[in-house]
Subunit: 490 residues, 2 copies
C-alpha cells in the first residue's frame, strides 16, 4: 500500500495528496472544490474538535448556531470587510426547482427568484452582529463569549484537500465586550489557546505574532496568528484571532448603556481554526511510509497484530492479545486487535504505518513462549521486544514519549530552518531554499509589497516574543526595531 | 419573567413560541425561515448530539462529512426521490459578487454564472451514493455504516422555530449493505435506537411503526418512524429510518462483486433526526411556568440560590453552598451557585423555572441553623426540606426520579389521549378533540386520502407492536387485519 505514495523528496505536493487519499482521510467530490471527509479523516477532526471545544468552554465560551445564509446587503455594511473579502462566494438566487418542460430532469423555476440574493456564509461576522444588536442593551449583557462550529464556503479557484477547499469546516468565535482592553485581552487569550492546542495536541510548534496591516483580516484592527513551518520549508497559517475594534458594532449599530449610563459602541473579536489544521498535521509530521499522527489525535492509538501459522497458534495468541487490548483500554487507550485472515501481517504493518497508528504490537509463537511482545513505534519506525507483563503501562508511557518526540522533532526542524538574514541578497537566496527567514523591515506596505512581488515571500508575522533589536530594513535600509518573519506560504 | 409566557390553555402555539424565545433557546434571524439557535438551546442540542452519537458508535457507525452542495442533475437521477421531494430548495447559480456600478454595495457578477446550478442539500442520498460508487467494489467493502452531522435546507413557506425551519441541523445515517435482509435489519435497528433515545433521554414515549406508502420518504421502499404525542393532542414525527432497497444503488450504478463472484446492486438505508427533536422536547413536557427539561438533557441540572439579608449571612451561606456544589459536581452533576446581588431570589426562582432547571436548592439563615436545604423540583413544582448532610446523593436520586417521572407523566398523557374508534362518525368527533385515534383502515391510498381531506388527519404509523385483530375499515367497511394510528400532526 505505502508503495503507492509518491516519495516526499520527489514531489512534496503529490506526496501530500497521495497520503490524504490513500490513508483514507479525504477525497475530491463531484462538486468542484468541495471535499468528502472520509471516516478516518473525520475521526481525527472529531478529536481536534473535542479538544478545542473543551478549551473554549474552560475559558468561558458557549456554543450557538447562526444561519448558513447572509443577505447580500449585510456584506456591504462594513466597508473594509466587503472590500477585502466576500467576493468569491456561493450566491443563492432561487428557492425552487421544477420539472423540466421536456420531462427530463429538473430546472430552476424562474418564478422563484429571491427578492434579495443570499450568500452562503464565507464567515459570519455580519449575520452575527446583526443578531447581537438584539442581545445587547446594557453592560450587564456583556461580555458575549460565543463560538460556532460550522461549514463555510469561499469559492476558491485552485483547491487542495484540507488546505484550500470551497467548503470547509471550522469554528468561529465571536465575542462582544464593553471595553477595548477587554476585547484585546480576549483576542490575545484565544491566540494563546490556539498556540497551546497546536503545540500540545497537533505537536506543531508555532510562532505567535501579529499580521502586518496588509495581511490583516478584512475589517480587523489587528490580526494575531499562529504560523507553522511545513517540511517543504513553506509556512502555513494555522489559526487567527482578530481584534475588530468597533467596526462591526458601528456597521450594525450595536450599542450598550454603560454603568455610567452612557451609550457606547461594543468592542468585538473573532477567531477561528478550520479543517486546514488537518493539512498542517499531515504535512508537518508524515513521511514516506505514510501518516505520523500524534497519539492524542490518533483515532486508533495501538494495533495488535498476530503472527501465526495455523488456527491453533492463532487461538492462543488471540487470547493473550485480547487480554492486552483490555488492559490498554482500561488505561483509556484506543486499541484494536486485527486478526483478519485474508491479508498477511506484512500488509497489515504497511497499512497501519500508512494510517499513522502510533504503536503497533506484534505477537508471534516465540513471544508466547518467552512472554514478550514486539513493540514498533510509528514516529521512529523502531522496534523493541518488551515483556508482556505490564505492557499496557509501558505502552501508555510510550504514547506520551511519541507525542513529545514528534513535537521535538518538528521544533528541531523549525530551528534548523529558521534563518536570520541581514541583506536582501541573502534574503533572496534563502527564500529560494525555504524556511522562516527573519529580517528587518522598515514597516511600510510598499516594501512588503516589493518583497512579495520579487520573491513570493510574505511577512508571516511580527513575532509576539521577538526580541527588540535595532536594525536596518534589508530593502530600504531604514531603521527597524524588530525583525519580522518572512516565508513562502500555503 | 414567566409571567410573559402565554398561558398554555389560551394559545398553545403562542405558548410554545414564547417559551422558545423567552427561555433563550432560539429566535428568528434576519434570513427568512432560518433560526438562530441561542447558547441555551444549543447546549441542549449538544447533549442530544452526544447521546445519539455514542449510540451510533456503539452500534458500529462512524462519522464522515459530504459536500453541502448537490449538482442539480443528481436530484433527478432517482425518479421518485425528485418527484416527492426536492423542489423547494436553495439554488446556487453564481459564484461571485462585484462592487455595484453605482458604488453602493455589491451585486451578483453576471460573468460568474455556474455551468450547472448547485442545490444546497435538502438531504444527502444523491451526493453520498455518487461517492459510495467509488468506495464499493467487493463484498469486502460492505457494509458501510456512515453517519453525518450537518445542516440542511428545505425552503419551507411557513416556518416555526425548531419544528419547521428553512435551515435545520440534523444527522443523517447512510448505510450500504450486501443483502436486502441486512439492510432491513439495519433500518429496524436504527428506528430502535431512536425509540430508545426518545424514551430514555427525551423522556418521550413514542410509537414505533411503518409509514403508509403515501407517507414514505421519496425513494424509500419502507419508512419506519417514531411518533410522539404533544400536549395539544397533535402528533409529531420525531425520527425516521428508511429502507431504500436498491433504488439509489441503481440510480448511481453502485455494484459490488459478491463472494460468489457475481455483480450485484448494493442495498441501502438512511435514517435521521433533527433539531425538530428540540420542539418535541419542549412541547411534550413544559408548562405555564416554562420549560421542563429531563435531567439527562438539562445543560444545568441543579441551581443553588442563597436567601439572605446582608453580607454576613451571604458569606456563611456561600461557604456551605459552594461545598454542596462541589459535592454535586463530584457525582457528575452540573450545578451552579447563583449569588447575583442585583436580582431578588424570587426573580431567580422564576428564571430557573422558565429555563427548566430540574432541581433548585435554596439555603437561608434558618437552614444554616437547622442544617437543612429547601429542595424544589421543577417537574412537580413541589418543595421539601432535606438535611444538608448527604444532600448530593439525595439530589442524584431525585434527578433520576424526575427523569422517570417526566416520562411516566408523558406516557400517562398519551394513554389518556389514545382512542380506539370503530365508526367514521366516532373518528371525526375524536379527531376534532385531538389525540391518537386508532382505527381500522382498508389499506388503500384512496381511503387514506379521503380521510385526510375530510378530517386533516393522517395515518401516523402502522404500529410495529400493534396487535393483529380482524376488523372493518371505518370508511369503506372493507376488511382490515390491524388498526392503524391516525392524528393531526405537526
Amino acid at each position: 500500500m505505502a508503495k503507492e505514495v509518491t516519495n516526499i523528496s520527489d514531489n512534496y505536493a503529490q506526496w501530500y495528496n497521495d497520503l490524504v487519499v490513500k490513508a483514507g482521510l479525504a477525497e475530491n467530490s463531484a462538486v468542484r472544490g468541495c471535499m468528502v471527509i472520509k471516516p478516518y479523516g473525520y475521526a481525527i477532526w472529531e478529536k481536534i474538535q473535542a479538544a478545542l471545544d473543551k478549551m473554549f468552554k474552560d475559558t468561558g465560551h458557549v456554543n450557538a448556531y447562526f444561519p448558513l445564509f447572509i443577505p447580500k446587503s449585510f456584506l456591504s455594511r462594513e466597508a473594509e470587510h466587503v472590500e477585502g473579502f466576500a467576493k468569491e462566494c456561493a450566491v443563492v438566487t432561487h428557492h425552487r426547482l421544477m420539472s423540466s418542460p421536456d420531462g427530463k430532469g429538473v430546472v430552476v423555476d424562474p418564478q422563484a427568484k429571491l427578492e434579495e440574493e443570499l450568500i452562503v456564509r464565507p464567515t459570519s461576522e455580519t449575520i452575527i452582529w446583526s443578531t447581537y444588536k438584539n442581545w445587547i442593551q446594557s453592560y450587564r449583557d456583556l461580555p458575549i463569549l460565543v463560538n460556532q462550529w460550522a461549514n463555510v464556503v469561499r469559492w476558491e479557484m485552485r483547491t487542495r484537500l484540507f488546505l484550500r477547499t470551497a467548503e470547509f469546516l471550522w469554528q468561529e468565535g465571536h465575542t462582544a465586550h464593553a471595553t477595548r482592553e477587554e476585547a484585546i485581552e480576549e483576542t490575545e487569550k484565544m491566540i494563546g489557546v490556539y498556540a497551546d492546542f497546536a503545540e500540545n495536541f497537533l505537536a506543531l510548534p508555532v510562532l505567535v505574532g501579529k499580521k502586518t496591516a496588509s495581511e490583516r483580516f478584512a475589517g480587523a484592527e489587528d490580526t494575531y496568528c499562529i504560523e507553522a513551518l511545513m517540511q517543504d520549508g513553506k509556512a502555513l497559517q494555522a489559526g487567527t484571532s482578530h481584534f475588530l475594534g468597533q467596526n462591526f458594532a458601528k456597521a450594525f449599530d450595536v450599542q450598550y448603556v454603560s454603568k455610567e449610563g452612557k451609550q457606547e459602541y461594543v468592542w468585538a473579536t473573532s477567531w477561528g481554526v478550520s479543517t486546514r489544521l488537518m493539512g498542517a498535521l499531515i504535512m508537518a509530521h508524515s513521511d514516506n511510509s505514510g501518516l505520523v499522527l500524534p497519539p492524542k489525535l490518533a483515532p486508533l492509538q495501538v494495533v495488535i497484530v498476530p503472527i501465526y501459522k495455523g488456527a491453533e497458534e492463532l487461538t492462543a495468541i488471540s487470547v493473550r492479545a485480547n487480554e492486552i487490548k483490555r488492559q490498554l483500554e482500561a488505561l483509556g487507550i484506543t486499541a484494536k486487535y486485527d486478526d483478519r485472515d485474508n491479508v498477511r501481517s506484512g500488509f497489515k504493518f504497511a497499512e497501519y504505518e500508512l494510517k499513522g497508528v502510533p504503536v503497533r504490537l506484534a505477537i508471534g509463537p516465540r513471544d508466547m513462549q518467552n512472554g514478550t511482545v514486539e513493540v514498533a513505534r510509528r514516529d521512529t519506525l523502531q522496534k523493541q521486544l518488551l515483556p508482556q507483563e505490564n505492557i499496557a503501562s509501558c505502552v501508555a508511557s510510550l504514547l506520551n514519549e511519541i507525542q513529545e518526540n514528534i513535537f521535538v522533532k518538528a521544533k528541531t526542524f523549525r530551528a534548523e530552518n529558521t534563518f536570520e538574514v541581514n541583506t536582501y541578497d541573502e534574503f533572496k537566496q534563502q527564500i529560494e531554499k525555504g524556511g522562516f527567514v527573519v529580517a528587518h523591515w522598515d514597516g511600510t506596505p510598499e516594501t512588503e509589497e516589493k518583497i512579495k512581488e520579487e520573491t513570493k515571500a510574505t511577512i508571516r508575522c511580527i513575532p509576539r516574543d521577538g526580541k527588540q533589536e535595532a536594525g536596518r530594513c534589508i530593502v530600504t535600509g531604514k531603521p527597524s526595531a524588530q525583525r519580522v518573519v518572512f516565508a513562502r506560504s500555503y
